[in-house]
């Protein structure tokens, strides 16, 4: 460091001549982090919501062998993807994937304590206000994310709008021990989970194939991307790559 200072000329050290150091912004490309997070959300939400809807399993027999993968896939993996969204300069992903990642980890803790007979999880017909209250911030921030997603694309908006609304219904359902409200919320979660798979696949396919495969659902004028993003086969990105280089210097599939 001292050597650099010795060799720096006044012009190099202060190119603007106004007493401030030189600055250069380095932009570093990474693979899109949202896909892993959305896939974790998709799988975990489908498994638990379809169980809440009574499509499979039993009320007390299923959770002890259901929560572990949810805690890691919906939890740890989604949380890590959310942190990488900070690097990707993605405000919605960084806030919401991390938030839902922590939700699945926390739900995993509850179920683990129940499996170890430390606590008892009551049936859905019993009011559980201490659990219902979790869904107030989840509904609030997910709905705010839906408003922000109106600038992005319709699939992402659908994920956040349905999950935000579903969180509000589930909150009411657990607060009063009302299974109808819980099931309405679970249906909205199922729709949101399917939209999460679509959104993750849409981003993954466009990145890997270098062109649109699944339409982005862009409303021109309202959203940032152009109308071309709705047309399969259209090229909407031009990545900087050294084609003969190692991974990182170029995109890899």
């Amino acid at each position: 460091m001292a050597q650099i200072e010795r060799h720096a000329t006044p012009r190099e050290a202060d190119p603007g001549g106004d007493g401030t150091p030189p600055a250069r912004i380095h932009l570093a490309p990474i693979a899109p982090p949202a896909t892993l997070g959305l896939f974790g959300f998709f799988a975990s939400t489908m498994v638990v919501s379809t169980w809440l809807l009574g499509w499979w399993g039993t009320a007390t027999g299923s959770p002890p062998t259901m929560f572990e993968i949810a805690a890691f896939f919906g939890g740890v993996a989604q949380f890590a993807a959310g942190l990488w969204c900070i690097r990707a300069r993605d405000y919605i992903g960084s806030a919401l994937l991390t938030m839902w990642g922590t939700y699945w980890m926390a739900w995993g803790f509850i179920q683990a304590l129940a499996a170890a007979h430390v606590i008892t999880v009551p049936p859905l017909t019993t009011p559980q206000q201490g659990f219902a209250v979790w869904f107030i911030p989840l509904a609030l921030f997910t709905s705010l994310g839906a408003v922000a997603a109106l600038r992005e694309n319709l699939p992402l908006f659908t994920v956040l709008a349905t999950v935000g609304a579903g969180s509000a219904f589930v909150c009411g359902g657990f607060w009063g021990g009302d299974t109808t409200w819980i099931k309405v919320g679970a249906w909205l979660f199922v729709i949101g989970a399917c939209a999460a798979w679509y959104t993750g696949a849409m981003v993954l396919f466009e990145y890997s194939w270098g062109r649109v495969v699944l339409p982005f659902g862009v409303i021109p004028g309202l959203m940032k991307l152009s109308r071309a993003a709705n047309r399969p086969g259209a090229r909407i990105s031009a990545p900087v790559e050294y084609g003969l280089g190692q991974p990182g210097a170029r995109r890899v599939p």
Binding site: A115, E241, Q246
Partner: protein, 225 residues
Amino acid sequence: MQSSIRSGRPEARIVLQPLAAPSVLGYFALASALIVYGSWFAGGWGTEKDPSSFFPFLLLFGGVGQLGAALWSYRARSAVGAALHGSWAAFWMGLGVIYLLVTTKTITVPPRDAHWGSLGQWMIYMSVITFTTAFADLARDRVGFLAQAVLGAAAACAAVALLLGSSGWEEVAGWLFVAAAAVAIFAGTALMMGAIYGRAFIPQRGGKADPVAYEHGDPGVKVGQ
């Protein structure tokens, strides 16, 4: 010329940082877990008690090791690597904890050839996700596509086996897991050998590799150590 902070908008430069392909670790970790679990799941060896011996391997190599590969895949600009390895890492960590809890007698799980609804449900979505990443990989890496397509089919068969409690489907699923592992080993080995020997061992787009390196530099500036 560089700009100063006050003299206007700073210059921007896109910086590309080459890495060793994280999918070598990812494929090796995935294949290791698949061989161990798949051959046991197929009924090829062992008893109901054996998961208590091999769960730490699933949890740590198939799980934590593969998660490391998944997270480095972001820097390596590998969207498929991040999604595939991240998803299966989470699955192996979760399954490892299930068998940890079985070992500590906290929970019980059904025998290998019986109905197990929750794991069957997970297998459905692992299959959907794996077929999705397979289609994405078809863009450039046909061996990676094949490994994931076989793995997706194995997970689908495992879902049927676990939901029906069918030992026949379980045997098919288990050996498909092992077949997927064999292709994954080939994919990972080809990536590693291709980088070390400087020529492609499997057909890939992009031609012969010519990485940028300063051979007298430290690791990272040169290729390897």
